[in-house]
Symmetry: C2
Subunit: 350 residues, 2 copies
DNA sequence: GTGAAAGCGCTAACAC
DNA sequence: GTGTTAGCGCTTTCAC
């Protein structure tokens, strides 16, 4: 038989799950002693530890999180994400991996898109007594975040601006977009359009990293004496498709389209294909995020990589530090890097 | 100002969060009365309901899940997934959407790959008192699943075999693979290789849907008098790449490669590209799952669609029924459908 | 170093 | 219909 060896026996024995009192009875000690051993609290003899550990093992005892949470910690950390797209998914997996070996468990909840929904998500994590929370691309106003963070360890991912009570980790969207414009302009493009997400209504400097990309684009264009050309769309395949259609129908269409997210760039490519505009010969396309699909042969999208630098690892480390008692805020900015692939080439001479 | 309107006021007032007793005091009633109103329990007057609702609203009261869980339900349902790949992600999002309007909250935990790790994940959900659990492609032995399911509403996704205490929803992997072989053979292919995942060690009929794909392939090949040609690899881009390399190095390489997962098919395409084997002219490629990237222009992979039929919705509905008291097991099998795209064409005449 | 007692916030009997 | 009481399983003073 190939049954996996596992410490706790399968059978709960009688009916209900064993409690700390059952362990205490078997070990011949008090319940509070068991509690102390289980939490590595100070002041237990080696003998006591051995007896309790043995009894717990024998009974297949597992502490109830709900009961612990009522007095102490829940040993759960919450990850809030607006969805399970490629970027948040990578972050979440890194966080999960980081805490996997610890006594904390990671629970992921999907909430977002707007402040109201995300606030509900955050409160629902609080209801569940999480010991800390990591928010991916949060749209919540900074004052409200500060209020929550005052009593709950919190780390933000992909949002700019230094917090008083929370930590942040974000990529330098401004620099990433600048680098892409530099690349495209260096190839000789002058009509470089940018597809941006609709305004999030967040007050500077606490904008999402994706918003600072637009600033980087505008700045880089102005630097080179080029006219910025921004069109707004949601960051989805359809959003990119619609924006590209509008762009390509212009009298003088752009020679390069830079989408603020890879997934929107995919829509751009579909629009170009349908209109018989050859990519990259007639139109260069670039994205941002370097999602898995972008690297696929056949897609081969020029983009900016922010995820692979391990923002999830950093976020997890920051939260772990807070769980250990740190209270001064930290703000970490990681450098994105340009990934030049096949969809960007010099424009055709006109 | 554009602050979102939200029911509960922001400020907790004084220090700690309001409890049911605070609400009771403000409303001028007893704590148990408040509890009843909050849970829509039987036997409360309209007047009482109004007073309590008002007081709760005013105080921004939110029930503590930990405390509720200690006595009754936790209003949390757990989703266990081996990772956040395209398929489980879609399932999880559907489940999340399904419960979003209810009083239940969905929490996702990543565990898996082997029985030991997944069992730990399942127990950790139990520790957290979830009211029900949905397991995506679980590798846990059926006896153990039954034992857990005896006291916890449980739904399995993508695993074959009817349970006594749990529900299942799975696609008909056998039929899906058969259909693909039919398509490929219909085009004229005779040397059709199949890339399968390593054996999971699960006892029939309780195998993962992906395992029944291999049976479907073998059956369909035999039906047509063709020799099955199976190579094992992990379902990843690298796994598919390695398997394809071995296949393409054969004296008489296959004219079509059918990978049991799209992501492996991507690796096949990379291997073909590196060896200057033209797809589809010299090699047809097919996958299974119809993930987002497969539909991208530039990838255009022929595949089998199982996810879009809403297995997540079905799983959520099944769990909701159990939460409402159903105990007879249900087993739902959804029909996969062939998606013919650009990577499959007739073989070159030899 | 160890145990007894109180209580976290809520729900579930049971009286009234 | 409403309030009182007890207690879920654990942690935490505080005696000893």
């Amino acid at each position: 038989m190939n049954a996996a060896s596992n410490a706790a026996p399968d059978a709960p024995g009688n009916g209900r799950a064993p409690t700390i009192r059952d362990v205490a009875r078997v070990a011949g000690v008090s319940a509070s002693a068991v509690s102390k051993v289980l939490r590595d609290a100070y002041g237990v003899s080696d003998d006591m530890r051995a007896k309790v550990t043995f009894a717990a093992q024998m009974l297949g005892y597992r502490p109830k999180t709900a009961a612990r949470a009522l007095r102490g910690r829940s040993y759960s950390i919450g990850v809030l994400t607006p969805g399970l797209g490629p970027f948040p998914t990578q972050i979440a997996e890194e966080i999960n991996r980081h805490f996997a070996g610890s006594s904390y468990r990671t629970i992921i909840a999907i909430y977002g898109g707007d402040e109201h929904d995300e606030t509900e998500g955050l409160e629902s994590m609080l209801d569940r007594n999480v010991d800390g929370v990591i928010l991916i691309t949060p749209h919540i106003a900074v004052e409200r975040l500060e209020r929550f963070a005052a009593s709950l360890p919190m780390v933000l991912v992909s949002r700019n601006g230094r917090g008083a009570h929370f930590d942040s980790v974000t990529d330098d969207g401004f620099a990433g977009a600048e680098a892409m414009v530099g690349h495209l302009a260096g190839l000789g493009h002058r009509r470089i359009a940018y597809i941006s997400q609709s305004d999030q209504g967040l007050e500077p400097p606490y904008v999402l990293s994706s918003a600072s990309r637009e600033e980087g684009y505008a700045h880089a264009m102005a630097d080179r004496g080029l006219a910025p050309w921004v069109v707004r769309a949601s960051y989805s395949e359809d959003g990119g498709y619609g924006a590209a259609c509008a762009l390509l129908d212009a009298d003088e269409p752009p020679t390069a389209i830079f989408a603020g997210a890879d997934v929107a760039a995919f829509g751009v490519m579909r629009a170009a294909y349908e209109r018989h505009v050859a990519v990259p010969a007639e139109l260069s396309v670039a994205g941002y995020d370097n999602v898995f699909a972008s690297g696929l042969h056949g897609v081969d999208l020029t983009t900016v990589d922010q995820a692979s630098v391990g923002m999830g690892d950093i976020a997890a480390r920051l939260l772990a530090e807070r769980l250990d008692g740190r209270t001064e805020p930290k703000y970490e900015v990681v450098a994105p890097k340009l990934v030049v692939r096949g969809t960007s080439v010099p424009p055709r001479v006109e």
